[in-house]
Point group: C2
Chain length 205, copies 2
């Protein structure tokens, strides 16, 4: 089975659960039910990996040390692009090469989705113009300030308007499950949620 490549952007001061939540969901999804199918990759539909700008060694919020699988110089085709948030997004909002990379990868990807303040990066890359979108409750004003042409939603965990955005931190797990459900149906997503014992929220738009 050809797997769907899920590229998760990471950077210094990325919020841990922002990238680790979706990574967990995509890496543990199986098309066959139960615990046994998780012991191999045979029925795994996704191939999740991390991508950073220019250096492999990164430090997430709280000090967790991670190594990116790829950099912008050597990443494979990305079918689903995940842009997490965190304090590190602040400096990245003015990083033109990063914003161009996001735009360019998103244009070729089937799905683009953000977690938390990752939506600020999507907004700065011009991807949310004319769309409904959300972000962490503490960044609603910041998202509005980037463009008047974004319809900012503040009462949903996940907003799907071609580009998918999610609210703060753990709502990225609900976002990942929405993608799994849209691609493989309710049974596969529910079975994966049962496997990782996550209580999904259906506060989506």
């Amino acid at each position: 089975m050809k797997k769907i490549n899920v590229g998760i952007l990471i950077f210094d001061e990325v919020e841990v659960l922002d990238f680790a939540g979706p990574f967990e969901v995509f890496s543990r999804t199986r098309l066959l039910k139960g615990a046994e199918s998780r012991r191999s990759d045979d029925s795994a539909p996704f191939n999740p990996f991390t991508v950073s700008m220019d250096t492999e060694h990164l430090t997430a919020t709280g000090g967790l040390k991670i190594i990116a699988d790829y950099t912008f110089n050597n990443f494979p085709k990305i079918d689903i692009l995940i842009v997490p948030g965190g304090y590190g997004t602040r400096t990245l909002l003015n990083n033109e090469s990063l914003l161009k990379w996001i735009k360019s990868v998103s244009d070729k990807a089937n799905i683009t989705a953000s977690v938390c303040t990752g939506s600020l990066l999507l907004a700065k890359a011009g991807l949310l113009e004319g769309k409904r979108a959300t972000t962490h409750w503490g960044a609603i004003k910041a998202l509005k300030s980037i463009s008047k042409n974004i319809c900012v939603i503040s009462d949903r965990r996940v907003v799907n308007d071609e580009i998918i955005t999610s609210a703060g931190v753990s709502s990225g797990i609900d976002m990942a499950f929405m993608i799994v459900e849209n691609l493989y149906g309710e049974e596969v997503s529910s079975d994966t949620a049962k496997y990782i014992e996550f209580h999904r929220s259906k506060q989506t738009l």
Copy 2:
């Protein structure tokens, strides 16, 4: 403020959300409410870090590459010991030096807690004798088979009986919040859950 050291054991094939969930909770807890207090460590009561056996470079389930802050040769005092689960626990169940380390660190720590199949390691280390405990639903039989003297609970996300054990994967986030609440009260734990937009489950014992 003297911070509480939270040592999170990691190993090859550790389940990502098992360690990343509690890491997120402990690293983002603040004694002052709101988003602003999260921009510095000033009111952060916890100092979470990762510890591995003998090598810093590890690969979690799904291929996420992480670097441990410490190994068994150089770790600082651990006040709260967190033992996550994952497929990697299988080989560790017969690793005497790891089991001895868990027992020895747990004896000196104020709190010992596990996520998912991490409870199998606590059981093998003799820490669950005569206690109520839980684990991932797929490992209930395995936990029972380690010792007849463990009262295995299968309908709670978190079980606190001196040693704290939690059910599968994301229930480790509820476990971490239980510890935060026991130490700093409902307001601090709820504020942190609000910050990371996590809907807590109170299915605890």
